[in-house]
């Protein structure tokens, strides 16, 4: 159980809001498409803040411009990984950006164990910090 005000991992654009409905997810997809961004669905069972590379649920959908089709991919991913973290990302290929432009979580495990802070005491009062993802105490596929 995480102790922050939401009790959950708060990565992404909308983690402080109530879980997004399919209608709300679709509205955000439309916004991304209207700006020419490609959408992508990613999932993981290790939400460590520096775990950059979540698994891709297929490549970014560069050629899919239909919000309903993209929502279908989101829901396929949810069906396949109902107890994983799933996020929708948008990518801009415009020169000067060429980077993600959106990222929001659309699925979570029922139980979010969170993270421990490991303090390694070193010289003087120096401490080396490690953020430990409790989920990774179990092997891949058996977490959450």
């Amino acid at each position: 159980m995480m102790t922050n005000p939401n009790g959950i991992v708060t990565q992404g654009q909308f983690s402080f809001l109530p879980p997004l409905t399919d209608t709300q997810i679709t509205a955000q997809i439309k916004y991304a498409l209207s700006r020419g961004w490609a959408l992508s669905v990613e999932y993981t069972d290790d939400p460590h803040p520096r775990n950059t590379y979540w698994e891709m649920f297929g490549a970014p959908m560069f050629d899919l411009k239909d919000p309903a089709g993209i929502l279908m991919e989101v829901n396929n991913c949810r069906k396949t990984f109902p107890n994983h973290y799933i996020r929708v990302m948008a990518f801009s290929s415009v020169r000067g950006v060429e980077s993600p432009t959106m990222s929001y979580i659309v699925n979570r495990p029922k139980n979010e164990p969170g993270f421990g802070l490991v303090r390694q005491e070193t010289e003087g009062r120096n401490i080396r910090y490690t953020i430990h993802s409790y989920a990774t105490d179990k092997p891949e596929g058996e977490r959450h």
């Binding site: 005000p5 809001l17 803040p49 520096r50 020169r95 990222s103 802070l117 303090r119 120096n126 910090y129």
Partner: protein, 496 residues
């Protein structure tokens, strides 16, 4: 017409030009109305207030002269050099709209000056500024003088590193996309012990902010020495990161009396795993450039607090416009710079601030007189610098902030977080909920400018801390007239 001027008035050459004695600057070659600007020229535009009765073109020529090769009298040693090339050329002088006869303001003029690229040392803001602002602001001949804008040629920009990290890479490192970042300055600024200080940092970050911040004058005083602050703050940062699963940061201010001391503090910040350090503008241009190089080499985001800028940027007739500081700081290589809030407690006209933000963020800024951008500027792929909005803002203004400032900005709610009636975490949560609700609504196509207050009210129904924030600060606004305003209103027709 232009040729006649240049032949008859502006330029004497040969023996006559170099006879010992004093010549008007115009006649020494610093006024060239038919000059064709080159792509490689550095351009500057000054607002000149001449003494009553003096010739604005002569004053413009004097500014060009004194910021390049001239001294008060003719010197024959000019003839040993390619002096015509080294001379800066004032090439255009125009009266400022709404000044002079029939107005309340004495006549002012915009003077455009072109400088040859070879006048400047590559990669040195110090050298650039020693020329452009080094000498001319104290000239008796001009009553008041303000550097309004500059066009930096691509060839010169390419000699600068630019922002150590840049907006794009900063977002990738922080894993935060598609929304403004949230921060807060630790308060009170002075007097907290390291232990007490870190408490504020922890609460703010755990509650939902991305960054906490040292204030400009938090360095290493008797009540809290810098190592204590760094140690406690990094414990707070890491603990909050573990509590939320997000990358968090605290701008550790490494400003100190010497470069050696600043490097020492920056190294310690790195050793403790901080993602970001901070410096103050008052450390000087060269020190800023050095810290930017250090930051690039050490994977560090570099925050700049613009401490001191209003001493020269606020008054409209003398000093320099903040947009010029924005340009220099993007070249010097900082990743963050405080650039105004529009709605908060500090100076800021909306159109002027849009100009600052565009200057920091765009690949290419077209000329836009309504926003105070007098020149087109190609940024030649220099990294983008994140503007920071700080000072007297609160969650109830979220729709205005998002509309005016967009996504690429750090919204700093210091009092608006720490002063929350239910505590610091609640203050942070209120700000984050207000922000996310507003971004969601904007992306859904809602008119947040008009519906914003309702969007916040709706979120406050399920978020008690937001309810309390709105109730506490609902009537707080800072409606003072700005002093730094546009000379050109959208409806005015000008001869540009």
């Amino acid at each position: 017409m232009a040729n006649q001027l240049s032949n008859n008035e502006t330029m004497k050459e040969g023996a006559d030009r170099y006879k010992a004695g004093v010549l008007p600057y115009k006649k020494m070659g610093y006024w060239q109305p038919d000059y064709q600007v080159k792509d490689t020229d550095l351009l500057a535009m000054f607002r000149i207030t001449p003494h009553a009765g003096s010739d604005p073109e002569e004053i413009a020529a004097a500014v060009a002269g004194e910021s390049s090769t001239a001294t008060w009298t003719v010197v024959w040693t000019d003839r040993l050099t390619a002096c015509e090339m080294y001379r800066a050329k004032a090439y255009r002088v125009e009266q400022v709209p709404n000044t002079g006869e029939g107005t309340k303001i004495e006549a002012q003029y915009f003077a455009y000056i072109a400088y040859e690229l070879d006048l400047f040392e590559g990669g040195s803001i110090a050298n650039l500024t020693a020329s452009i602002i080094g000498n001319v602001f104290g000239m008796k001949a001009v009553k008041a003088l303000r550097l309004e804008d500059m066009r930096i040629p691509v060839a010169y920009l390419k000699t600068f590193q630019g922002p150590a990290t840049g907006v794009i890479v900063e977002r990738e490192r922080l894993d935060k996309f598609g929304r403004p970042l949230l921060g807060a300055t630790t308060k009170p600024k002075l007097g907290l012990s390291g232990r007490n200080y870190g408490r504020v940092v922890y609460e703010g970050l755990k509650g939902g902010l991305d960054f906490m911040k040292d204030d400009e004058n938090i360095n290493s005083q008797a009540f809290m020495h810098w190592r204590d602050r760094f140690l406690y703050c990094m414990d707070a940062v890491n603990k909050a990161s573990a509590a939320t699963g997000e990358v968090k940061g605290h701008y550790l201010n490494v400003t100190a009396g010497t470069m050696e001391e600043m490097y020492k503090r920056a190294e310690f910040a790195k050793q403790l795993g901080s993602v970001i350090i901070m410096i103050d503008l008052v450390i000087g241009y060269t020190a800023i450039q050095s810290m930017a190089l250090w930051a690039r080499q050490n994977d560090m985001i570099l925050h700049l607090h613009r401490a001191g800028n209003s001493t020269y940027s606020r008054q409209k007739n003398h000093g320099m416009n903040f947009r010029v500081i924005c340009k220099w700081m993007r070249m010097a290589g900082v990743d963050h710079i405080h650039a105004g809030t529009v709605v908060g407690k500090l100076e800021g006209d909306p159109a002027m601030i849009r100009g600052f933000y565009d200057t920091l963020l765009d690949d290419h800024t077209p000329q836009n007189l309504e926003h105070g951008l007098f020149f087109e500027q190609d940024w030649a792929s220099l990294n983008k610098c994140m503007p920071v909005a700080s000072g007297g803002i609160h969650a109830g203004q979220m729709h205005q902030l998002l509309t005016y400032l967009g996504d690429d900005v750090i919204l700093q709610f210091g009092g608006g977080t720490i002063g929350h009636p239910q505590g610091i975490q609640a203050g942070a949560q209120a700000n984050r909920v207000a922000l996310e609700a507003m971004v969601l609504a904007r992306n859904e196509g809602r008119d947040i400018w008009n519906e914003g207050p309702q969007i916040l009210q709706d979120a406050a129904k399920w978020c008690g801390p937001l309810r309390a924030a709105i109730d506490t600060w609902k009537d707080i606004t800072f409606n003072y007239e700005s002093t730094d305003t546009a000379d050109f209103v959208p409806t005015a027709t000008t001869s540009f």
